[in-house]
């Protein structure tokens, strides 16, 4: 079946603008994760959704970052007032139950 999909694949924005990144998880997967990967580095956890439970937001770096998930489907990661240090690849993963499968990522460049 289809894997995790993310859109857009690339996003270039100007400093101070808001951006929205979208993730479509694998159908039936109850858990969804967002990670950030800076150039040449490992993945950094941002937020985790599991069913109807309150999300684990412990990895969000500032209040400019937020995410929503509709039921057990699409999730949107929003970054407000983008800064140059937000430039990175944003990766989404879904799992059911334990194995996390990743999408291709959104490459965000903040000019």
């Amino acid at each position: 079946g289809a894997g995790v999909s993310q859109s857009p694949s690339n996003k270039v924005t100007e400093k101070g603008k808001d951006v929205e990144l979208r993730c479509d998880p694998i159908s039936g997967h109850t858990a969804l994760y967002w990670y950030r990967q800076r150039l040449g580095q490992g993945l950094e956890f941002l937020i985790y959704f599991q069913g109807n439970s309150a999300p684990d937001k412990s990895g969000l770096p500032s209040d400019r970052f937020s995410a929503e998930r509709t039921g057990e489907s699409v999730s949107t990661l929003t970054i407000q007032r983008t800064q140059q240090e937000d430039s990175a690849v944003y990766l989404c993963a879904s799992s059911d139950p334990a194995l996390q499968f990743f999408g291709p990522g959104t490459r965000l460049t903040v000019l």
């Binding site: 580095q41 490992g42 993945l43």
Partner: protein, 111 residues
């Protein structure tokens, strides 16, 4: 100190050689250990998944976990140029929840 340490490489080996990768970690609560492969500009792809200590083999890949030493390894036998990628170790304390990643090791297999 990072929770998960991984040498970033690059690690260059001739085709047919054994590739040896490893990670060390500090959190003794980690129980689930994974290895991901990431090609340039792609999302991570799950290679191996092990629970607790021991060995697991899958084709040319062998994963080892030594919880007493807080050390995990991945071996790739009969390496091919197509194995050239970045290999990321990851682990977590529960079967659900955020993964803690190493920085990734870049592997180059030369023909």
């Amino acid at each position: 100190q990072k929770e998960v340490e991984q040498d970033p490489g690059p690690l260059s080996v001739p085709e047919g050689a054994i590739v040896s990768l490893n990670c060390t970690y500090s959190n003794s609560a980690f129980q689930y250990f994974m290895w991901y492969r990431q090609y340039s500009r792609k999302g991570p792809e799950l290679l191996m998944y092990t629970y607790s200590s021991g060995n697991k083999e899958d084709g040319r890949f062998t994963a080892q976990v030594d919880k007493s030493s807080k050390y995990i390894s991945l071996f790739i036998r009969d390496s091919q140029p197509s194995d050239s990628a970045t290999y990321l170790c990851a682990m977590n304390t529960d079967s659900w929840g955020k993964l803690q990643f190493g920085a990734g090791t870049q592997v180059v297999v030369t023909p």
